[in-house]
């Protein structure tokens, strides 16, 4: 747990830079690293997207299966979100049971999709109380350059937008109202009606900045992830890290999160 000497030096260096108004990679405090989104990269998946934010590299695959609904929502499809922080992505990640970081990552992404009601789950009902579509969102981290949450959330919504319902594989009729627009009518898009975008801000030396890289994450006492929708409303939030925030800092972070989410949505969704 104790920081290695090199980590500590890096951390101090980054913190001092921020204190003097600069960032390690020359960005402004309200500036994201370069983002790229590539959809349809995993052909065995019903939908997929690979998102890079700076050095972070995340692959999200969406698989659909047919299964039973939850007893208390018999007419709704099911979302299951899972994240694997595989050791390929970082020397800190370890094989073994999922640790709290990967649990938190998956749950925050899940929260954004649920909170915004991004998927019209009622349209994923096949037979009330019996059969619904199960949507698996699997987040596979390939490289950890910091701010995995934003990359994973952007990957998740991109992969959902990319996904088709494999109704023919299951011998099922095309979901109502969506099949028309498809050419081959072999599959149908998932009913996505909102595009939640996560934006993480960090507090370092009392300053608020967006999209922390991995060194900035180590130097940050506190992060806040803000998930917001097309109309600027909020559909999820998560503070992490062992520091505290003042009310005005929270409000600044939320405002910054909403603004940046709008830009990302415009450019990548």
């Amino acid at each position: 747990m104790g920081l290695e000497i090199m980590d500590e030096i890096k951390q101090n260096y980054v913190a001092n830079l921020v204190a003097s108004g600069k960032r390690e990679d020359g960005r402004g405090f309200r500036e994201f690293r370069e983002i790229s989104v590539e959809r349809g990269v995993a052909e065995r998946a019903e939908g997929s997207a690979r998102v890079k934010i700076g050095d972070s590299d995340v692959l999200v695959g969406v698989k659909l299966d047919v299964g039973a609904p939850f007893p208390d929502t018999p007419n709704k499809g099911v979302i299951i979100t899972n994240a694997e922080l595989v050791p390929l992505a970082s020397p800190e990640f370890e094989s073994g049971p999922p640790r709290e970081d990967s649990v938190q990552l998956a749950r925050v992404v899940d929260r954004g999709i649920r909170g915004s009601e991004a998927i019209d789950l009622e349209r994923l009902c096949i037979e009330e109380g019996e059969k619904v579509w199960i949507v698996f969102i699997d987040i596979h981290i390939l490289d950890n350059g910091g701010n995995l949450v934003d990359a994973a959330a952007l990957g998740a919504i991109s992969a959902l937008l990319n996904a088709r319902i494999p109704f023919e594989k299951w011998g099922l009729p095309a979901p109502a109202g969506e099949g028309e627009e498809e050419e081959g009518r072999e599959s149908s898009r998932l009913p996505i009606r909102e595009t939640p975008v996560a934006v993480t801000t960090a507090k370092i030396e009392g300053k608020i900045l967006v999209d922390p890289n991995v060194n900035e994450e180590n130097a940050a006492t506190t992060k806040l992830t803000v998930i917001s929708n097309a109309d600027g409303s909020l559909s999820g939030m998560q503070k992490s890290g062992s520091g505290g925030l003042k009310e005005d800092e929270v409000l600044e972070m939320v405002e910054l999160g909403i603004e940046k989410a709008g830009e990302i949505r415009e450019n990548f969704l």
Binding site: A106, G115, S233, M237, E255
Partner: protein, 262 residues
């Protein structure tokens, strides 16, 4: 009770969580559920607290500072805080399988982080401070109740802290931002937002949001929650002061050690 429940269910089906400006349990929008705090309820633990928030019943125990195991997880500069939030299988309507699930792993993590800013971890390098929260009965708000209980239990254990942490949730029901959702409100409401705060310095140490809020509603909810945390802080302090007085008259003196005031 059963009649009450039935009425509630009916109202809920019609999506009427608010009626005549009151909530179904009769509370106003900015009103907390009844709170009950007992300090020092366990004998083996170094500090403990029983906390009721409406129908939530939680108990917290603190052990430590003690040697951190395994050794490679020690921090040479400060104590490691462990936090385990756990629900009893019978604490919820449908029996919960024993053991940690993903939700409790996340709640444990954010709860631990809610305390890291206040615990003077640097006093105890290489040590562990263990906080255990058991949910005996659940009715929405267990993580906030658990944090409130843990805060008092940490003080009871004599762990040096900058100040107490207090916690509460706000939410949105029937389009209205209200304080401290109960189970029915949480199940049928539109948003839930737990926070934890160091009341004396207005420092927010936990912040999560689930559901859907406008930015304006968020800002309003945050203020409401912060105010309620200050109320809870006073109750926590009062319970500790009472404990301190009775403790001085000897009731728990056999434990000795690094206690507040013994």
């Amino acid at each position: 009770m059963n009649e009450e429940r039935e009425k509630e269910e009916e109202a809920v089906e019609k999506r009427e969580l608010i009626k005549d400006g009151k909530r179904l349990d009769g509370r106003g929008f900015e009103e907390l559920r009844p709170i009950k705090i007992e300090v020092g309820v366990l004998k083996r633990a170094d500090g403990s607290c029983y906390f009721e928030l409406g129908e939530n019943k939680v108990i917290a125990a603190v052990y430590g500072p003690k040697e951190m195991h395994p050794r490679h997880a020690q921090d040479a500069k400060m104590a490691v805080v462990k936090f385990r939030y756990n629900m009893a299988p019978f604490s919820v309507d449908d029996r919960k399988r024993p053991g940690p699930d993903r939700r409790s792993v996340e709640v444990s993590k954010v709860s631990r982080e809610a305390f890291e800013p206040v615990i003077m971890r640097e006093f105890y390098p290489k040590a562990a401070i263990e906080v255990y929260v058991e949910i005996l009965q659940s009715d929405a708000g267990t993580r906030t109740a658990g944090i409130n209980a843990a805060s008092v239990a940490l003080a009871d254990a004599g762990i040096p802290m900058k100040d107490l942490v207090s916690s509460v949730a706000v939410g949105k029901i029937d389009g209205q931002v209200v304080l401290d959702l109960n189970g029915t409100e949480d199940n049928h409401g539109e948003a839930d937002m737990p926070i934890a705060m160091v009341a004396r310095t207005n420092t927010i140490t936990l912040l999560q949001m689930d559901g859907h809020l406008t930015a304006e509603e968020f800002g309003r909810g945050l203020k409401l929650a912060m105010g309620a945390c200050r109320q809870i802080y006073e109750l926590q302090r009062a319970a500790l002061i009472e404990r301190f007085s009775s403790s001085n008259s000897g009731s728990k003196s056999e434990k000795g050690g690094n206690k507040n005031g013994t």
